[in-house]
Amino acid sequence: MFGLHYRLERKTIGFLLGIIGVSSIGGLIEIAPLFTIDETVEQVADMRVYTPLEQAGRDIYIREGCYGCHSQLIRTLRDEVERYGPFSLAVESKYDHPMQWGSKRTGPDLARMGGKYSDDWQRAHLINPRDVVPESNMPAYAFLQRALLRTDNLGLRLATLRQLGVPYTDEMVANAAADAQGQATPDTALAEGVRRRYGDATNISTFAGAAGKLTEMDALVAYLQILGRLTNAAHEMAAGE
């Protein structure tokens, strides 16, 4: 064996091929099947997509690097389920390009954040976490309240996600900018359009409260309020046990 190696290490290309061969086995065996085996991701009927406003909020979550402190994955451990809620299912992040499962909990898990607090709480907390939780070391995100949300590119973003397999309809893509506005202006015709396209359960609210102008804060709060609520499957599974 060492004699063979003695010869191999005299050949640049042979050595190169050796490294490629030996290093690719592990990844191929572990990753390739995940794309083909059906059981990897559960099939659920009630799975919905992010609205344009929620997706914009998700993009802000990504831009701000919240994953550096927050996970979005509840493990199958008793204490986690009791602290945060039913454990996460694969299907719940099926439309997350990329996933934000995270690896560090400087702050609590956010996988089931939706509906836990009011919009007002979320806004006040983001503007200055220490106003709400004095011991917190989370950064203040007051600047989001000052930044107007760019909606002109939302159509393109939904269209790109559709290319990747998220089931947005033509109508959703075409109305993305208007729907972002509509979701934050209840009792208007725009809001009605959002409800029609995304379902009655859609969370229509003034979010960050500044009526008239749509800010990045609105989008982020809308996203936080949908976390864990794209499908009810995890709760049903927990109840069934």
């Binding site: 592990g26 794309f35 499962w101 976490p129 070391n137």
Partner: protein, 547 residues
């Protein structure tokens, strides 16, 4: 001229810089968001500087023909200095985020200064800026000596080094402005990723072409590791960054994979970035500087072979240990755990091989701070691989995952192994590169060593404590069967450890500043005349392992 290009090389460098300038200008003018415009402008500006330099020196005399008998060390010299600068920047930002966890108001009311944007700046500056520059610089240095051949393509080598640093600058400024995919260690957006791919392919080509010219029949162990580093990082980078840009004129993209498949791909990438960027590359460094500096041949050639192929094979299976108890299918988790435990064998084989190499040279370890950096690095390598294998066990991971224990583990490896071996290699090479007998001040090397050790030990112990306390608090039940502590209770318990970590980090940072100063003074006070001559290639065979 500094680059010592021939006329033909000047022409190809000019053409290359022109192409880069045009691409940069295109994005600067056509880009539809501030990010793409800024980064296009940065690219164009970098290329313009290169063009200016090339034009001004275009008619300089050709280098003498005997250059072909000398090593080509320009990129190595610049790379070493850049590595030290990135070290200081990366540690500075690291310590800033450490203080932010202690007191979150030590910052400005603006997006760029918020923790979530600074943290990736820290990780990228230390891993890619400091680590990457140290790897590129030493790889060119070692490749030539162990092959007894001059770098095959001087223009290519400069392109690799400068192009890589352009990538680092784009990545770093991008985080501050909010360009990120929020994929750990793969944060840069699609256009930066494509640029890095181009640079990386050039790196592989320079490496292979030089190896092909070697006058040693055998490829030395260091080069096995550097080759594995370059190849595997290329594959990881390309696969994990597959994404569709929203538009080719906008900076935002969405990753090709989602959910559980994305998680597995991401941690296959993330773990092997540790394995091949932060381990294999630096082992290549170890296999050269350890024997040279200690004056002892590598203890065992066979152990080198076993550990090399073991690491190359086992690492690639281990990524799923980052996903225990998640929605990832159980069989993948189990495979990841099994291979992670087996990974200890080749890891410790390397560490043992390195330590036994020092037999007979321990008195040098006592006297020579540079060799001591290398020795301590081996010890921390052994420690963190043992810890890593332990933490991959499902039931241990249940406690450690998501806590500061992971941070402690990362930094035992990052500060104890990666930074120490890099500092050892830099302190060894700088006098060789600038033709001096020793560093400007060996006392300051000694000072740096003790600051680095103290900083690392304080950091790691603080995080072990806080991590384990945190993990235990989260899972402690009262007698009546309810959770005993709220999340905020655990947050309050972390405070003293966060302060301690930030102090440890400060020591480590001061050490880095001392190192930068020392390197700078060594270069400034180097004898001018001698610096013009590269060392002639030795006639004796280059260094070979024992047996």
């Amino acid at each position: 001229m500094l680059a010592g290009f021939t006329k033909g090389e000047r022409f190809s460098a000019l053409s290359l810089a022109t192409v880069v300038a045009i691409v940069g200008l295109f994005f600067a003018l056509m880009g539809q968001d501030a990010l793409l415009q800024t980064h296009g402008a940065m690219m164009a500006a970098a290329a313009a500087c290169a063009l200016l330099y090339l034009v001004l020196t275009y008619s300089a005399p050709e280098p003498a023909l005997d250059r072909l008998h000398r090593y080509y060390d320009g990129p190595t010299k610049v790379g070493v200095v850049l590595a030290m600068i990135f070290a200081v920047v990366g540690f500075l930002v690291g310590d800033w985020v450490a203080w932010l966890l202690y007191n979150p108001d030590l910052t400005f009311d603006a997006g760029w200064a918020s923790y979530g944007r600074l943290r990736p700046l820290h990780t990228s500056a230390v891993i890619f800026g400091f680590g990457g520059n140290a790897l590129i610089a030493t790889s060119f240095y070692i490749l030539q000596r162990t092959s007894r051949a001059r770098l095959a393509d001087p223009v290519g080598a400069w392109f690799v080094l400068l192009g890589y640093n352009l990538f680092c600058a784009i990545a770093a400024s991008g985080y501050l402005m909010g360009a990120t995919q929020s994929k750990e260690y793969a944060e840069p957006e699609w256009y930066a990723d494509i640029w890095l791919t181009v640079v990386w392919v050039a790196y592989l080509l320079v490496y292979l072409r030089t190896l092909a010219r070697r006058r040693e029949p055998h490829i030395y162990v260091s080069n096995w590791y550097y080759l594995a580093f370059i190849l595997v990082v290329a594959v990881l980078h390309i696969v994990n960054n597959l994404a569709i840009p929203v538009s080719f004129l906008q900076s935002k993209s969405y990753s090709l994979f989602s959910g559980v498949q994305d998680a597995m791909t991401q941690w296959w990438y993330g773990h092997n970035a540790v394995g091949f960027f932060l381990t294999a590359g630096f082992l290549g460094m170890l296999y050269y500087y350890l024997p040279i500096r200690s004056g002892r041949p590598i203890f065992s050639y066979r152990l080198s072979i076993i550990s090399f192929w073991g690491i190359t094979f086992f690492y690639m299976w281990a990524g799923s240990h980052h996903l225990h108890y998640t929605a990832l299918p159980q069989w993948v988790q189990t495979l990841g755990m099994t291979f992670s435990v087996m990974l200890l064998v080749p890891s410790w084989a390397s560490a043992t091989n390195a330590l036994l190499t020092l037999n007979g040279a321990w008195h040098k370890v006592r006297d020579d701070a540079t060799l001591r950096f290398i020795t301590v690095a081996i010890l921390f390598y052994g420690l963190s691989t043992l810890e890593g294998s332990f933490m991959s066990i499902r039931s241990v991971n249940a406690l450690s995952h998501y806590t500061d224990w992971t941070i402690g583990h990362v930094h035992a490896g990052a500060m104890g192994w990666v930074a120490m071996i890099a500092f050892g290699a830099i302190y060894a090479s700088v006098p060789w590169l600038w033709k001096r007998d020793s560093m400007y001040s060996t006392r300051l090397v000694e000072v740096h060593f003790w600051l680095a050790i103290a900083g690392t030990v304080i950091y790691v112990f603080a995080m072990w404590n806080s991590g384990i306390i945190q993990g235990l608090m989260w899972r402690t039940y009262t007698e009546s069967g309810t959770l005993a502590y709220s999340f905020v209770d655990s947050l309050v318990a972390m405070k003293p450890y966060y302060a301690a970590r930030a102090v440890g980090g400060l020591l480590f940072l001061i050490g880095g500043v001392v190192g930068l100063y020392n390197v700078w003074m060594t270069i400034r006070t180097a004898p001018k005349a001698a610096a013009e001559f590269d060392r002639p290639m030795p006639a004796t065979p280059a260094f070979e392992p024992a047996e």
